[in-house]
């Protein structure tokens, strides 16, 4: 049988989904790379308010059409969906526009920066009948799936206490960066905290009741956000989880992931000192990470599955809303110095 390429991808006669990336910054590259490995979707365009960035990204991707006008991109018939990689506070307006255009959406976490806004986004996609998924990428990493598989398989019985820590040093630019502006990022609990709040809740598999959080401005007292967060969730089945998200650790090169799950039948733990190989060379000692799947590619596959409407979505809109609610509760708890109930944040309205 002859081998040939199919223009614009696609398997078994299925057309490949045309995806436009909105926001050509840091994380957009990871989504672009995932799209390049997919035979179910392809990059169809780039949108960025910054024409220079959009143009560069379009050229780098091999001459993909770019624009600074989202409406123009969404009007193209060969664009079926969008991956939104813009600053957090812009997610809602862009998402509503994508829904109005009748396209599917993979939006970077957090879905939005507050609960009413997250609800408006979900509602818009319900009305449009298209798919929205928030990019809680950690759910798609090997380590997270290994833990989820083990718990799901009953390895520790019912989890009653979990610890998840993602510790690292300062990776952000200077004072001008949007990530350190709580008005744009929503605060660190919404910006990065949601990764852990969502993941640990997925692992524990119970409904969160309240959040008690403590924040610290470790790198500089003048920070508007807490670069170190400790967020404790209490669940309706009596379980608790302690999540630490840090960009305030030193040395800045620290890259630490700590997982401990204590259940009614046993304990599950990832080694804190990493699980790679050790390489000792003339320039010092380093860790060689094991080969792993590309979480962004796995996430892309899960989103495409959700669009196809097959099995249960790996990350539902309700999950994304809950993550936002937990992030808001954490920020509020830091402000008040006491636990904040999730019901309060959700305003008593069912998700």
């Amino acid at each position: 049988m002859a081998r040939h390429s199919v223009i614009a991808g696609g398997t078994a006669g299925q057309p490949s989904l045309g995806v436009v990336i909105v926001g050509a910054g840091f994380i957009a590259d990871h989504h672009g790379a995932a799209l390049r490995t997919s035979d179910r979707a392809h990059l169809a365009g780039i949108v960025d308010v910054d024409a220079g960035r959009a143009a560069t990204a379009g050229r780098t991707a091999g001459g993909v059409p770019w624009t600074t006008d989202l409406a123009e991109a969404l009007a193209r018939p060969d664009v079926d969906a969008a991956i939104v990689c813009t600053p957090n506070v812009t997610h809602e307006a862009i998402a509503l526009q994508v829904a109005a255009a009748g396209k599917h959406l993979l939006v970077e976490k957090p879905l939005s920066v507050d609960v009413p806004s997250a609800r408006r986004v979900i509602h818009a996609f319900e009305q449009a009948g298209t798919t929205v998924m928030a990019a809680h990428t950690h759910r798609f990493y090997d380590y997270a799936r290994a833990v989820a598989d083990a718990i799901g398989g009953g390895a520790v019985g019912t989890p009653v206490f979990a610890r998840l820590a993602l510790l690292g040093g300062w990776i952000w630019p200077d004072w001008r960066a949007w990530v350190v502006d709580p008005g744009v990022s929503g605060g660190h609990a919404l910006h990065n905290g949601v990764h852990l709040l969502d993941l640990v809740t997925w692992w524990i598999g119970a409904e969160p009741v309240s959040v008690y959080a403590r924040g610290r401005k470790q790198t500089a007292a003048e920070l508007g956000i807490h670069d170190y967060l400790e967020m404790t969730i209490d669940y309706d089945n009596g379980a608790s989880a302690v999540c630490e998200m840090s960009r305030g650790h030193r040395p800045a090169s620290l890259d630490r992931r700590d997982v401990l799950v204590v259940g009614t039948d046993g304990i599950l733990q990832l080694p804190t000192d990493g699980w790679g190989s050790t390489v000792v060379t003339e320039s010092g000692t380093a860790l060689l990470h094991p080969q792993a799947s590309d979480g962004f590619a796995v996430q892309l596959g899960a989103w495409l599955d959700a669009i196809d409407g097959g099995a249960d979505a790996a990350m539902t809109p309700a999950d994304a809303l809950r993550a936002v609610a937990l992030g808001v509760a954490a920020e509020r708890s830091i402000e008040r110095g006491e636990p904040v109930s999730v019901a309060e944040v959700l305003g008593g309205v069912p998700a």
Binding site: Y212, Y228, G238, L254, D258, V262, I267
Partner: protein, 342 residues
């Protein structure tokens, strides 16, 4: 004080659990193998005496069994009293021993409430004798080196500690595991940071055992200088790779302005893997043996010990506040330090 071994009276064989006998399980073997001590007598409380544990032990050791515990305290051969009486009598026994002019080693917890600890501390201060609460986990070799490293500035100014202290198997304590085990990790966190606790938030739950007693506590502490710490402490079900009542997880992470220190108290260890089970072994003095070194040094030097009653008091204040917080669901402020009064 001369080079002669210090005479020890073993007083009481009770603890916080129905079958808890740290006197025979922990202290007697440690005194027995320590060159600085010699067991010279055995005594028990009226309740304990009915079980005749003391009499049997005295016969086995070839030492006198005191007719009453107060009689035991008058024996001039006794320098040190090792107190393991039931919690309800602990304050009475410890203060009586101190007033009789004896130094005291007290099983943990020194007392069940902060008020009782305060009473003991006052008598210890008044008599000038050694009153050593058995906070022996801080003498673990991994923790000992960590204490020195933090105090020496290896991680800069510490700003956070995360601690896990989870025992697997063994008999649960009727008083709850926060009362029974909480003192160990709390004492280590306090020793690591040297910072008093100002605020406590806590969640106290039960997951593995029947009855009303708690078996898992999460403590969120705010210390002086804005240092925060979180402690998980409890007793879970037995695990194949952990000896009964052994530590399944025992670790501390200290984050500082200039570095991070991870302490895994499951080390140092020679790993032993066999068909039936996996385990570990190590050579060297036990944490209780090191505790006795501290006792001996304090007694012979005529100075107070570290840890002392003030440390036990602060732990008790934290445990009291944790209960109040768990009941109310909100953080509880600790009363101002009584540092000035001691």
């Amino acid at each position: 004080m001369s080079d002669r071994a210090l005479g020890v009276l073993l007083l009481g064989f009770a603890g916080l659990g129905p079958d808890q006998d740290h006197q025979q399980d922990m202290y007697l073997p440690a005194f027995g193998s320590h060159p600085g001590f010699e067991v010279v007598g055995v005594a028990d409380t009226p309740a304990g005496a009915s079980s005749s544990t003391g009499h049997r032990l005295a016969a086995k050791l070839g030492v006198p069994a005191a007719a009453s515990w107060r009689d035991g305290l008058t024996d001039p051969a006794v320098d040190v009293v090792s107190v393991c009486v039931e919690p309800g009598l602990r304050v009475e026994a410890v203060t009586a021993a101190l007033r009789a002019g004896k130094h005291v080693l007290v099983d943990k917890p020194l007392a069940l409430t902060a008020a009782e600890c305060r009473e003991v501390g006052a008598v210890a201060a008044e008599t000038g004798l050694v009153c050593l609460p058995a906070h022996h986990q801080r003498f673990h070799p991994m923790i000992g080196s960590a204490l020195a490293a933090v105090a020496g500035g290896r991680v800069g100014l510490p700003w956070n500690v995360q601690a896990d202290f989870l025992v697997a198997g063994g008999t649960p304590s009727e008083a709850g595991e926060l009362a029974n085990l909480g003192v160990y990790p709390i004492d280590v966190v306090l020793a690591l940071t040297g910072q008093r606790v100002r605020q406590v938030h806590a969640r106290i739950t039960r997951h593995w055992h029947d009855g009303p007693a708690d078996d898992l506590a999460l403590l969120f502490l705010t210390h002086d200088h804005g240092v925060t710490s979180t402690v998980s402490v409890g007793r879970m079900r037995a695990l194949a790779d952990t000896r009964p009542a052994g530590l399944a997880v025992h670790r501390y992470r200290i984050s500082g302005s200039h570095g991070v220190l991870d302490v895994d108290a499951a080390r140092p260890a020679v790993a032993v893997r066999r068909a039936e089970a996996t385990g570990a072994t190590w050579h060297g003095a036990s944490t209780v043996g090191r505790l006795l070194d501290v006792l001996h040094a304090a007694v012979t030097a005529g100075r107070s010990s570290s840890p002392g009653p003030a440390d036990a008091l602060h732990v008790a204040e934290i445990v009291d506040a944790a209960r109040a917080s768990a009941a109310s669901g909100v953080p509880v402020e600790l009363p101002d330090s009584e540092e000035g009064s001691r």
